[in-house]
């Protein structure tokens, strides 16, 4: 018996030694492969059919649009279109295209291809008209050629004509200020019409209420013009893209990028600490000191492109009065909360959109924390001190603009109580109820919420918040002046005029106080120190084109 036990122990020890010595393969030497960890698997590699950041992170390496944002900024620069001009009060757009660009399958990029893409979106029918299929198209262009589903807007797009190889003319049914800025976003990238036709990009069905693409294009043959091209996708495990050596612009330095989904943020952190990955996205703010403190790791910051704000629901309560709203603004200790609970990644917000975006007003009414003034305002209003209010906050969540909602709430509650309010707290889990309650206006007089921009246009911020429907539902107000200004700015085709209009709107908003914006946060990525030139874009993407490892 003893003998057997001894042999077993020796065998186990031998195994352990084997594991240690033969183990650990991942790169500690310089390589031209970058392994990146995201939070989830892409849905489809056809960006026109997706709405999640995980998909866009991959497609933005393989596809390009007519225009793009300068990497890391919100400035629009030429990409596949070299020059553009709008005429007819913004209803006709002419694009002069770049010469000599080829799709990954060798077919040429030209005006015919551009029109093929626009017409493809416009002509979608059946299952493709479901919002679960084409969210962004519907958000910008409204409806399709033949609207088959109820609730679709009339279409914005009219037609596209190719004049020669390199001139495309797009006609819209009415003027739109959002059409041009939206061309930078991933869903509107130019895809190879040949490949789409060949591999059934427009084959899909509605199954159990959810859209499913059934062609192989979105899974095995995504074809764009970008600096990387598709190699393989093992669903749920990794996407692999390789350098496009025939790229028209600056060729990528990396030969290969592998993107791996790891849903838990701590697991992502540990994967980086263990050097199983070279970089990862969506670093939890609490991990930033850990990353900075590690001698082989670093933090890459995204420019802030979000806003956290306190909704003020006017409804039937005391908030209908401007004085009470002003008292709220003076009673929120925004600086204190941002300093304490944003782990160094936050900045106090003075307007409902980030400062880096055009349309940001240079001067607006500001409301520094002032409990005395707040009390004065309350006492001269119809809601004397203590003014009773209901304040909602979400639990079980951490948002990029609001990493710690519970503590934000606690900080605000304390400062409001100091300022003559009597706050009754309410909370609901983010999933599944909180957002719905906020959106429909049943989350008290005040609630915490925010927004990360999809694309670099003020309409994506203030337009989303204060359009007629949302203003009514979420904020409980209807203000003709704000509404008309919003619509005017949205449809103004002249860029300079648009900027001025949005600046005026922001000034009005900060006087009217439909809510109180309080923070812009800079979300972060974690990376190894030897990863260079990895650029994080404000709207949530990552650029691998210029990156190197080691």
């Amino acid at each position: 018996m003893r003998g057997i036990a001894l042999k077993a122990i020796l065998a186990l020890a031998a195994c352990a030694v084997l594991v240690v010595t033969l183990g650990n393969s991942s790169g500690s030497k310089a390589s031209s492969t970058l392994i990146f960890a995201g939070a989830a698997d892409p849905t489809y590699l056809d960006p026109a059919l997706a709405s999640d950041g995980e998909t866009f992170r991959v497609t933005e390496q393989m596809y390009e649009g007519l225009v793009a944002l300068k990497p890391g900024t919100t400035k629009v620069i030429p990409k596949l279109a070299l020059k553009w001009k709008s005429a007819n009060r913004g209803k006709t757009w002419t694009f002069w295209l770049r010469h000599g660009v080829k799709f990954h399958d060798g077919t040429p990029f030209n005006a015919a291809a551009v029109c093929a893409n626009f017409n493809r979106w416009y002509n979608w029918s059946g299952a493709f008209q479901d919002p679960s299929a084409t969210f962004y198209y519907q958000a910008i262009y409204g409806g399709f050629k033949h609207n088959e589903v109820s609730g679709l807007q009339p279409p914005l797009y009219r037609s596209c004509a190719a004049k020669g190889q390199y001139k495309a003319i797009v006609k819209l049914r009415k003027a739109s200020g959002t059409f041009f800025p939206s061309l930078v976003i991933a869903p509107f990238a130019m895809q190879s019409p040949t490949a789409m036709r060949k591999y059934g990009a427009d084959q899909g069905e509605l199954r159990n209420g959810t859209f499913r693409a059934t062609g192989s294009y979105a899974f095995e043959h995504p074809t764009g013009t970008g600096p990387f091209k598709f190699k393989s996708w093992t669903i749920g495990q990794k996407v692999e893209i390789v350098r496009n050596d025939k790229y028209w612009g600056q060729k990528a330095k990396l030969s290969r990028v592998i993107i791996q989904p790891i849903s838990d943020s701590t697991a992502r952190l540990q994967a980086l600490q263990n050097h199983d990955v070279n970089a990862y996205d969506l670093a939890a703010p609490q991990d930033i000191p850990t990353l900075s403190g590690n001698s082989s790791l670093k933090v890459i910051k995204r420019p802030a492109f979000n806003v956290a704000y306190v909704t003020i629901h006017q409804g039937s309560g005391p908030m209908k009065e401007l004085k009470v709203r002003q008292a709220v603004a003076y009673g929120l200790n925004r600086k204190g909360v941002v300093n304490q609970f944003y782990y160094g990644t936050g900045k106090v917000a003075q307007e409902f959109m980030p400062p880096s975006l055009y349309g940001y007003a240079k001067k607006v009414q500001t409301y520094a924390y002032n409990p005395t003034k707040a009390k004065q305002l309350l006492n001269s209003s119809s809601c004397h001190v203590p003014c009773h209010i209901d304040f909602w906050y979400p639990t079980a969540v951490s948002r990029p603009y609001m990493p710690d909602p519970v503590r934000n709430f606690q900080g605000f509650q304390a400062s409001l109580e100091n300022s003559g309010f009597s706050v009754t707290p309410h909370s609901a889990p983010w999933r599944p109820t909180y957002v719905a309650k906020v959106n429909e206006g049943s989350a008290g007089d005040l609630n915490l919420i925010g927004w990360t921009g999809d694309y670099a246009d003020p309409d994506n911020f203030v337009g989303t918040f204060f359009n007629q429907t949302t203003a009514n539902a979420q904020f409980g107000f209807s203000n003709a002046s704000i509404n008309s200004l919003l619509l005017k700015a949205k449809n103004e085709a002249n860029f300079a005029k648009r900027v001025a209009l949005y600046q005026k709107l922001n000034q009005q908003l900060m006087k009217y106080l439909p809510g109180v914006p309080y923070a812009h946060a800079t979300p972060a990525l974690g990376a190894e120190k030897r990863v260079h030139n990895l650029i994080a874009t404000p709207v949530g993407g990552v650029w691998f084109q210029y990156a190197t490892v080691g």
Partner: protein, 334 residues
């Protein structure tokens, strides 16, 4: 014998039926809707209403149940709202991962637990007995996710011997005909992939295996103690057979019987433990799938996934009961 099997199989029907009703109503009792989870701040009331219409959630509940039954009869178990892939597809991808993990965990538990229990019984009442009991009980006293985190921290993050997440290194290119990575590697004779798969399996298997370890140790110990005092063992010893032969030929063989039945009962604990272990190790199996689905309110996944897990569990128990009945005829007539 046949009558017993048939009787048990028939009993399966009301159980499955009851389960399907239970899960169906439970899923609809869950507060909130998936769209608000997936679209987050973008979920306007208009969109939520559209969704309700599309999924037929406005219809009376019995109509919805009938529709659901009809879908199930076509082997249509729904489509995941988050990933847009069918439940059947996801199960095909993820179930082998969980099975591989569970099997590895059982192998770990048996290879440690069996000898541990055997020697504890041999040295009954002694220090080794108490020590082995202690060790095996620690296994079920540590929350499995805590053990998983500690193992990961020590062996992966600190020592760097083993990987932190997943089933396979992203740098390995290999075919997966069966989706059981170890089997696949052997079939395709890809030895690097085999080694890589084993390395990824070690820590999660140990963490998960800590649960059955305790029970296997105790059951082995108990049954060895029982068998040792049986008459036929005493006879064998009296005959003059060497102790080792007595052990091998009589004690071990008969002590194994209760252990095989225990294995069936462990499946439930393994599936529960898998939810937590897979989350910590980002193991792409059924456990992490269900956990993510519950958090995202991905209704079709929750429904299809839980039904599937329950089905497996019931089937395994059925097989165990039937095999026990084959071994022990007294049971059939109860």
């Amino acid at each position: 014998m046949l009558r017993y099997v048939v009787r048990r199989l028939l009993l399966l029907i009301p159980i499955l039926f009851g389960l399907s009703i239970l899960v169906f109503f439970w899923v609809r009792a869950l507060p909130g809707s998936p769209i608000s989870s997936i679209l987050g701040e973008r979920a306007t009331p208009a969109l939520i209403q559209q969704y309700k219409e599309r999924y037929g959630l406005d219809e009376p509940i019995y109509k919805q149940y009938v529709k659901q039954l009809r879908a199930w009869s076509h082997a249509d178990f729904g489509t995941s709202i988050a990933t847009h892939r069918t439940i059947t597809y996801e199960i095909k991808q993820r179930f082998p991962a969980t099975v591989e993990l569970a099997v590895a965990a059982m192998i770990f538990a048996i290879s440690i637990g069996l000898p541990l229990g055997f020697f504890a019984a041999k040295k009954y009442g002694g220090l080794f007995d108490h020590a082995s009991l202690f060790i095996s009980l620690i296994g079920i006293s540590i929350p499995v996710f805590f053990l998983a985190i500690i193992l990961k921290y020590i062996f992966a993050v600190r020592l760097g011997w083993l990987p932190t997440v997943g089933r396979q290194s992203v740098l390995i290119e290999t075919e997966h005909p069966t989706n059981f990575y170890i089997l696949d590697a052997i079939i395709t004779r890809d030895w690097a992939a085999l080694w890589d798969a084993i390395r990824h399996l070690i820590l999660p298997a140990i963490a998960l295996g800590s649960i059955p370890l305790a029970i296997i140790t105790r059951i082995t110990r108990a049954s060895v103690l029982d068998v040792q005092n049986e008459d036929y063992v005493r006879t064998a010893r009296a005959k003059g057979l060497a102790p080792i032969t007595v052990d091998q030929r009589h004690v071990l063989r008969n002590a194994m019987l209760p252990i095989t039945t225990i294995i069936g009962l462990q499946v439930g604990l393994l599936l529960s433990g898998a939810v937590l272990t897979e989350t910590v190790f980002a193991w792409p199996g059924i456990g992490s799938w269900l956990r993510d689905a519950i958090f995202n309110r991905d209704y079709p996944v929750i429904q299809g996934g839980i039904l599937f897990v329950a089905l497996i569990f019931v089937l395994v128990n059925l097989i165990v009961d039937i095999s026990y009945a084959i071994i022990n005829p007294r049971i059939r007539y109860s």
